[in-house]
Each structure stands twice: as structure tokens, then as C-alpha cells.
């Protein structure tokens, strides 16, 4: 797995890291740059940048004894090791960040039981070692959503490199399709998804686990082609620039659309409405949205989409004509006995 994406250098994070680094290096004369970078979860370049700063630091008050740390790019040497920094206690924010994440991960359905137990033990130890600093961590919590049984099967198929057969629900077409997929990885971003090579469409696809109606692990080996993994931190749905544009206007009751659909723009309208422009490879799939919005919004373009929603609503209404109690004209709820 490649290192995490580079973050802009933050003086606080760097200081925190360098304080731990000196303690770590004291115990390991001649440590390898690559090993240290990996242990600290940073790139070698970030580590080298730290090593450039450290020789400028010291407990100078005692007479200018700077840390004599240097590297030839491969190994790191500290020529005047000193116990300047013992392992430092864990700060409140650090305890919160690590404990909240650990508790969230430990609730993931499908996490292997051995791993869950290890995580729970580790959490208890870190909590104890953090002392008072652990207190604030109760003010944040995270629940991952995923389907336990499906999750376990996907996880197993990935580690055993086997193909999966699934019956999968597509909400945009309101249909179940059967497909064979070669799973690549599981991703939890709010919901849990499996990224896979879909043999049917011969393409990379992302499947939401709670939409998997049925799953079976097949005997065939999984053989996804070598594909570059995307950075999914910005969301799973990443519309392409060439996708057709859809414009939706919503009233205050339809503002949620901007929260749920990735969009190019959302401009305020008078009276609390929004004009939302989004792109999708398949505008017809938004018929559901148009129907759902009711009087809280309408599709402005493309016109075919607006027409198809109107047509669907008329067809649906026709079914009520024949039922008892329905009248033309104003709808009277009192007459709707069954």
C-alpha cells in the first residue's frame, strides 16, 4: 500500500512528530530512513525534512548543545544522543482521534474476530495510558453502516482471491441484476462498498453492500486486471466532465438534494430555494428524484427527463381512478376508506 497522500506541512504535527522521532532514534542508532518513515507513517521526503530541522534544535539554554543528528540518505546517526525527550504522554486531541477511530473500527461488522479482540485490548490500554486525556473522546462517536453477512463473504473472497456472484439492486433502474465480480477492496465511507471488476460490464464498479440482495463465493479464482486504485476520500461518486448536465430547481423542502447529490453548483433562489446543476452518465436514472421531489422541486433540463417524470406520475395516478373513493377534483381524505 502506498503512503498516505501528502498533507500540507503543519508546524504542530511536525513538532509533535519530531519530539517522538528523537526518542525513537535514540534507541536505534543507524536506523534506516525507509524503516523510520514507515514506522512514522510519513514519506521519506517528509522524514528528510524533519532531519534537516533537528540539527537546528537543542536545549540551547544549557549552552548551545544542538542535536547532532545526520543522515547519508540511507541511515540516520545521532552523535550526541541525549534523553531530551522521553516518550511523551498522549494529548487530549490525540486520545480522542485514536480512540474514536478505534471504537468505530471495532464495530465494523465483518471485522475478523481476532482483529476485533486485538483492537479492543489495544483501545483499553491506550485509554488507560492516556489517563484524563481520554475523557473528551466520549464526545465524538462514529458508526459505520454495513451488512454483516455480505461483508464477511466479500472480505473472505478478497483474502482468498475468489470470484463472487451477486444479485445487486440498482435503484436508478429499480431492478436486480446478477453479476460475477472480482472484488478488489472494501471501502467504508458512511456506507460500506466493495470496489470490484465487474465481469458483466468489463469495467470497474463500486457496489454498496446494503444493496446486495444475495451473495455466493464461487470456486473460480478472482482475476481483476491491474487497475490503478482511485483516491476515494472525496467521495465515491465522481461524475465525469463529459456526462450530461441536469438542472433541478428546488424549494426549501428540497434542499436536501444538494446534500445527497454531488453537484457542480447550487445557487440560492429567492424564498430559500436552490438551483442545482449536476452531471450524471444516465439522466434517466434521476426520474426517481423528480418523482420524489413532488412539489418541492422540478427538473428544469433536460426536458425529456421532466416529461418522463410527468408521464410516470400520470400513469401512477391512473391506477387510483378505479379504486374506491377516488374522485376527480379536490382530494378528500375522509373518503379514502378501504
Amino acid at each position: 500500500m502506498a503512503g498516505k497522500p501528502a498533507r500540507p506541512t503543519n508546524a504542530i504535527d511536525q513538532t509533535r512528530r519530531m519530539l517522538s522521532l528523537v526518542t525513537y532514534l535514540r534507541e536505534r542508532p543507524g536506523a534506516h530512513v525507509g524503516d523510520v518513515a514507515r514506522a512514522f507513517g510519513i514519506t521519506e521526503d517528509e522524514l528528510i525534512a524533519d532531519l534537516d530541522v533537528l540539527p537546528l534544535c537543542g536545549t540551547s539554554f544549557r549552552g548551545g548543545d544542538l542535536l547532532d543528528i545526520d543522515t547519508d540518505g540511507d541511515r540516520i546517526w545521532w552523535h550526541n544522543p541525549d534523553d531530551v525527550a522521553e516518550p511523551l504522554r498522549i494529548a487530549a486531541d490525540e486520545a480522542t482521534a485514536l480512540l474514536v477511530a478505534a471504537r468505530a473500527v471495532s464495530t465494523l461488522p465483518g471485522l475478523r474476530e481476532g482483529d476485533r479482540q486485538a483492537l479492543l485490548r489495544a483501545t483499553a490500554k491506550v485509554e488507560a495510558a492516556s489517563g484524563e486525556a481520554a475523557g473528551a473522546s466520549s464526545r465524538l462517536s462514529v458508526t459505520f453502516e454495513s451488512e454483516g453477512g455480505v461483508f464477511a463473504d466479500v472480505d473472505r473472497a478478497i483474502s482468498e482471491r475468489r470470484r463472487l456472484w451477486i444479485r445487486y439492486y440498482s435503484p436508478s433502474r429499480d431492478e436486480l441484476t446478477e453479476r460475477e465480480i472480482d472484488p478488489i477492496r472494501l471501502v467504508s465511507v458512511g456506507h460500506t462498498y466493495v470496489e470490484a471488476w465487474c465481469r458483466r460490464s468489463e469495467a470497474r464498479r463500486t457496489f454498496r453492500l446494503d444493496r446486495v440482495a444475495e451473495i455466493r463465493i464461487l470456486d473460480e479464482p478472482s482475476a481483476p486486471p491491474e487497475i490503478e486504485l482511485r483516491d476515494l476520500s472525496e467521495g465515491l461518486v465522481q461524475p465525469a466532465a463529459e456526462d450530461p448536465e441536469v438542472v433541478v430547481e428546488v424549494g426549501p423542502g428540497g434542499r436536501w438534494v444538494a446534500e445527497y447529490y454531488p453537484h457542480d453548483s447550487a445557487d440560492e433562489l429567492p424564498e430559500g430555494g436552490l438551483r442545482i446543476t449536476l452531471r450524471t452518465p444516465d439522466p434517466a436514472s434521476l426520474r426517481r428524484l423528480a418523482l420524489r421531489l413532488g412539489r418541492d422541486g422540478r427538473i428544469v433540463s433536460p426536458p425529456e427527463l421532466a416529461d418522463s417524470a410527468r408521464e410516470a406520475a400520470r400513469e401512477a395516478l391512473a391506477a387510483y381512478d378505479g379504486l374506491e373513493g377516488d374522485q376527480d377534483g379536490p382530494y378528500d381524505r375522509q373518503e379514502q376508506g378501504l
Binding site: 508546524a11 504522554r89 483492537l119 486525556a133 465511507v189 446534500e259 382530494y331 378501504l338
Partner: protein, 317 residues
């Protein structure tokens, strides 16, 4: 070129950790190059105060001690800053390594790695690949809401806040004065629970509906913070997931899988339609309308009326 902030902070931290006696501001100013170059007393003082706050933020306990002459001195005692002994085995270390990677928010990602690095310095076992050890699982905690960080800090420090909030169906935002208790992420969205001062009651807010900046207010909390804050239950009831009624619908054969998955009974009518009984809270009308002509609501009458109402709005469109 100005001396990098990290270098300045590192020097201050090492001075404070290295000393056995409190060091005065004057002594610190004379020993740290960045402070010598700071220029005026004013700019040095501002820089020094900020730096102390930053070091405290990353966990350093800095004591302020007054000597006999009334001069203030600072030191970071070893014993109050030392991590208590903690021994983790390779499996536990791997599990923590996975957990430390889940934050998608810069401040918490930095803090989680910082905790892990401190444990690493204290001898946490390495030589593992968390992805190898945990199969293909990659959990992420998404944080897209700008209000998250100020509210997290306000919850931590128990500071009252004020923000503009637009309710789901409101045309305009309203100013809310809140004593924040806890933040919870559910289904990828963040919610805040706290005491709404104007309404004199507990409220849950969805962070994505906060408009503008979150501002801090001076003063203490006026309401007691409950031991257990139940954000998820409140949000579930908004989402209509607490079922207290039952609907009877006709559904075209082969369609509406999620409705079938929720149904307590499915009866084949044999004419291309099935009849389903579905437990529901609220919000079912909007969902049923999504299925267009594939769903016909039989009852209750109120639900049927709501669905017809919505369909008419679309048909007129």
C-alpha cells in the same frame, strides 16, 4: 528567511523539557534564536504566548512558577509529561495502525498519527502492514462539514456556541444558541447534540445545515450535560425508521426490491402484481412515489392521500 515555526516550537519544547528549574521568559528569549530575531517586545510576547498554547495543544504540560522575586518561570516536568508504561503486542499494534488511518479530517488525522508516533517512540511493535493484516478493509470517516472542527473543539472545551441553522424545510436560516455536548457520525453525516438555549430543550443538528461560521460564546453551560447522549435514535426517528404503523401496497412483480426487503408479508396476486405489508414511521410516501406506476397504495387512507397528492404535483409539473 524567517525561522520555521516547527523549529521554534521544537526548541522551546526541548528547552522546557530539558530544564530542572523554571526558565524565565527573558532566559528563553535569549536562548532561542527565533525569539532573538523576533524584534519588538510585543511581537516576541505574542509569539511566545502562541507557542506555549501550541505546545499545550499537542499535549505538553507546561507549568508556570513564580520565583521569590516575583518573576514568572516555565518548565515542563519530566514526570508529568512522561507516557505511562504501555505494552502492546504486534496484533494490537496492527489494529491501532488501521484505526489511525481512518480519519479524513486533517486535524484528527494528524492527532491520530501523533498518538501512534508517541506509542511508536515508546516501543510499539512495527513490521506490519495494516492492510495485509486486515484483509482488504479500508474504513474512512468522512468529514466534509466546515462546522466540524469548531464544534469538536467547543464540545471538548465545553464552550457555548452560536450558529445559523437552516432546518430541512425552512426557507431561511435561524440563529441558534447551543451548548454543544457531543458529535456523532451516522451514515456518513455528522450531527451535533446539545442544549438549545432559546428553546430550553435538547436538540440535534445536522452539521451540513449549519450556514456560515460557528462562533464561540463566553461563559459556562447553563444546563447539565447528560451522561449518555443519544444522537442516533433522534436521527433515526427523523429518517422515519422507527416504525409504528403498517402500510398495505400493491407492487408490480419483479420491481421494488427494497420494499420487498422491508415487507413483513408478500402475497402474489397472480395478475402481475403482489400485495405487501410494510411497517413504517414517516417519510414512506415520498419513497413510494419514487416507484411511479409500479406501486399502488391501498392503505392507510392518509398515506394513500399523501402519495396521490405528491403524484398530482409531479403530473402538473
Amino acid at each position: 528567511m524567517a525561522i520555521a515555526k516547527a523549529e521554534r516550537l521544537m526548541n522551546l519544547a526541548l528547552c522546557l523539557l530539558g530544564t530542572r528549574r523554571p526558565l524565565s521568559k527573558r532566559e528563553l528569549r535569549e536562548s532561542i534564536e527565533a525569539y532573538l530575531e523576533a524584534g519588538s517586545d510585543d511581537s516576541f510576547n505574542r509569539m511566545f504566548e502562541r507557542d506555549k498554547d501550541d505546545l499545550r495543544e499537542l499535549g505538553l504540560v507546561i507549568e508556570t512558577v513564580e520565583n521569590l522575586d516575583g518573576e514568572v518561570g516555565y518548565l515542563a516536568r519530566r514526570d508529568s509529561n512522561r507516557l505511562p508504561p504501555v505494552t502492546l503486542d504486534a496484533e494490537e499494534a496492527a489494529a491501532l495502525g488501521l484505526a489511525a488511518k481512518v480519519w479524513q479530517q486533517a486535524r484528527l488525522a494528524g492527532a491520530a498519527s501523533g498518538a501512534l508516533q508517541k506509542l511508536r517512540a515508546a516501543g510499539l511493535p512495527e513490521d506490519f502492514d495494516p492492510y495485509e493484516a486486515h484483509g482488504a478493509l479500508e474504513p474512512h470517516i468522512p468529514v466534509h462539514e466546515a462546522a466540524f472542527e469548531p464544534l469538536m473543539l467547543a464540545c471538548r472545551d465545553r464552550r457555548p456556541v452560536v450558529f445559523d441553522y437552516r432546518k430541512a424545510t425552512a426557507a431561511h436560516p435561524e440563529t441558534r444558541q447551543v451548548e454543544p455536548w457531543a458529535l456523532e457520525c451516522w451514515r456518513g453525516h455528522w450531527y451535533l447534540a446539545g442544549w438549545d438555549r432559546d428553546r430550553g430543550a435538547e436538540r440535534v443538528f445536522r452539521l451540513s445545515r449549519i450556514t456560515g461560521r460557528v462562533r464561540s460564546r463566553a461563559g459556562r453551560y447553563t444546563a447539565e450535560v447528560p451522561d449518555v447522549v443519544t444522537v442516533r435514535e433522534t436521527v433515526a426517528s427523523w429518517a422515519g425508521e422507527i416504525a409504528d404503523r403498517s402500510a398495505l401496497i400493491r407492487l408490480r412483480t419483479g420491481s421494488g426490491y427494497p420494499l420487498r426487503a422491508k415487507a413483513v408479508s408478500v402475497r402474489e396476486l397472480g395478475d402481475g402484481w403482489d400485495e405487501l405489508e410494510i411497517p413504517y414511521g414517516h417519510g414512506l410516501d415520498a419513497w413510494l412515489v419514487e416507484f411511479g406506476p409500479d406501486v399502488v397504495v391501498l392503505g392507510p387512507a392518509e398515506l394513500r392521500a399523501d402519495v396521490v397528492d405528491r403524484l398530482r404535483a409531479v403530473a402538473k409539473g
